[in-house]
Symmetry: C2
Subunit: 422 residues, 2 copies
């Protein structure tokens, strides 16, 4: 008799909740031993990982998976190296769990402060990249959380092979198997169950396209740390160093077109537009970037006419919209209205303008004189990231170990009572 | 022609979003001037506040409102004093907005840190107490947020009169009226609209009974900072100072029966149960507290037999359930299973046991040798609280000014580019 998906997921959830208590109190040393043992297991399993991955690649080809998706699916030796290196890096990160801050005495005589603790059970839902299995599991493990991983059905054999390595590592460190569980069924109902069990799951992190994330956010009964789009701006302000501005804007657009921190709209102050735009446009066009400008831009450079839709577009492609704005206020207005509150930069040498931009632009990262493509957990020093949050509550911007924890109040006394003190 | 509720709420939402940008960049001085001017306006409006409140009280009596609700509805001179004093206290709190922390240089040459900023627009949904209008508005204003307040229909005249004072104060400080808006319609559809406008509202704080909060959490499309129940425990452990333990448990239960930090279940280690429970039970019974014990408790004291349901009950009344547990692990197990993750305390002089309890109990406040009734924003030094969150994400425990803000990344450079540095 087969188990229903609902019963299967309930069993997974219960096991995760129980394991969460064990991993929450595991020492840093024990967690690091597990991470390094998983790395060793992966290194020893290269042949079987490749075989399992080949099954997925063959099935993908049979099912007509797009070349880009097949590429993401491939577990090349370099990607296995990357997973192993990632595990070692996470082992090297400092452990956020248990840190106590701001303990102070209150007039009543109690001492109040905050302790950083794991969230509990984290559900990760992701698409074709099997290396996410290791990236996500390692960050959740180091931050003291139990993890339930639900990868794409197209990567099921690869994910199972990786899961076997994770199990070896957990066992070697004396940790229960349910600290990291990989959902073994490809039934889509498993996702529905995972996002509807607040009694077993504390937070869901979806990793994938905007469609997946919107669907999960809409249906989830568990909080979701989500990353929607990155419509990032660079504003070349009055008082910008125009040579610096050109390098920054060029880097922001062309470092990589497909990352969420790529600039999608260039805003140029009207006071510098004539001096700045022609050379900038030449350089971008020479690189093969299609330009779409507002009316004032098109009077200065050769560009297609931008439509209202362009200001709301995340191209993730060699396309750039350009708008000339009246002043700082107009730039902030444009960004807050059309942007996605992800990452936005100003280029200026004017202290007052910089200060206002950084304070008033309502984005998860605000930048001065540096390109938006720096928006990344590694570049920020988080060591690794599980994603970039475009939410305001809880984690905002790149989410590393700290974003997978929360703080609880710790109150210490020695018999103090309420309502009975001076 | 009358406006639909949907159109009305959309207009309120748009106005709040626009006003949020203004209040977000207002100086501390300007915000404090507004708070103090509201206090002055309330003081000058005592007569009209009482008249408006009398309309609500009369209507409440006609509609057969329960005495407890009528009591909450009353704006007595002492409550008006309380509102005025609260405004002055909030004006005296330090302003969290704009604080920058942890700025550090990265290998690329960029400097990365975090800046504390307002959440944006906060919707408050509350029931009969009109003084919540001032409490909530003052905390949101000080933390740089725009607020939309939706009070109970039974307090509509009082809330309008208070809103008029708020408007006077905002105007006196040169702030736009839409920084604090009171929803003027009593149509219930207004609540549905308020919790479904993520484009205009960043977070909802419901203040009221569990039913209200569950309903809003279920239906909201905007994040909710919620406070469900407080099933709080005191665990009298082995190595407890039993005299201290008796005072702590007595205070935790009897300081006030109706607060969320009141102890609902007393856990007693089996090693001290015989020495501790009889005198404890006598003292509680003498105070009029009904006792419901597990089998082992009932062998030591005169108590009703507790059922499984008792362990899951928030009595908010002079009733206490008592359970004898085998050891620390059993106590933690009981609390994590039956508790509401609100506030739980251990009484012990044993360092190792205290350390484990504080780390492993998964509650928003964990306490040592002090009663659970200390769970309160004022007692914790937050100055004031908008509520106590039982969520894990974002704010956990008493929520003050910091809980009404979030942090964004600030990245400073001087022309650094990605992928081009050593």
């Amino acid at each position: 008799m087969t188990e229903s998906v609902h019963d299967y997921m309930t069993r997974i959830g219960q096991a995760a909740r129980t394991a969460a208590r064990v991993i929450a109190r595991a020492s840093t040393g024990q967690k690091n031993r597990a991470l390094l043992a998983i790395a060793t297991a992966l290194d020893a399993a290269r042949a079987s990982l490749s075989q399992a991955n080949q099954l997925d690649l063959d099935a993908g080809q049979r099912n007509g998976l797009e070349p880009a998706l097949l590429d993401r699916l491939a577990l090349t030796p370099a990607r296995i190296d990357g997973m192993i290196e990632g595990l070692r890096q996470v082992a090297g990160l400092s452990d956020p769990v248990g840190a106590i801050r701001d303990m102070s005495f209150r007039p009543s005589g109690i001492q109040v402060g905050k302790m950083r603790v794991p969230l509990g059970v984290i559900g990760i839902i992701y698409e074709s990249r099997p290396n996410v299995t290791i990236d996500a599991a390692s960050l959740c493990l180091k931050s003291g959380n139990a993890t339930i991983l639900r990868g794409g059905s197209e990567a099921i054999h690869s994910n199972r092979a990786i899961a076997a390595c994770i199990q070896q590592g957990l066992a070697a460190a004396g940790l229960p198997a349910a600290v990291v569980q990989v959902v073994e069924t490809t039934d889509r109902a498993a996702v529905g169950a995972l996002i509807s069990m607040p009694e077993f799951v504390d937070v869901i992190v979806p990793r994938g396209g905007k469609g997946l994330i919107e669907r999960i956010s809409r249906d989830a009964r568990v909080p979701v740390i989500k990353h929607l789009d990155g419509i990032c701006h660079v504003y070349v302000a009055a008082h910008a160093d125009l040579a610096k501005a050109q390098d920054i804007a060029f880097n922001a657009k062309t470092y990589r077109y497909g990352i969420c921190g790529a600039m999608e709209t260039l805003l140029v102050d009207q006071s510098v537009a004539a001096a700045f735009l022609p050379a900038m446009a030449d350089r971008l066009r020479a690189k093969g970037v299609e330009l779409r400008g507002c009316e004032r831009s098109c009077a200065l450079i050769d560009a297609l006419a931008a439509t209202e839709e362009d200001w709301r577009s995340e191209y993730l492609a060699p396309i750039l919209s350009i708008r000339v704005v009246d002043d700082l206020d107009a730039a902030i207005e444009h960004i807050n209205q059309y942007g996605s509150h992800h990452t936005d930069a100003i280029v200026t040498e004017h202290q007052g303008q910089a200060r206002r931009f950084l304070a008033e632009v309502d984005s998860s990262s605000v930048m001065l004189n540096t390109p938006t493509c720096f928006a990344d957990g590694f570049e920020y020093g988080l060591g690794a990231e599980i994603g970039i949050s475009t939410d305001k509550l809880h984690a905002r911007g790149p989410v590393g170990l700290e974003g997978l924890t929360c703080e609880k109040y710790v109150v210490l006394g020695d018999g103090q009572l309420r309502g009975q003190n001076a």
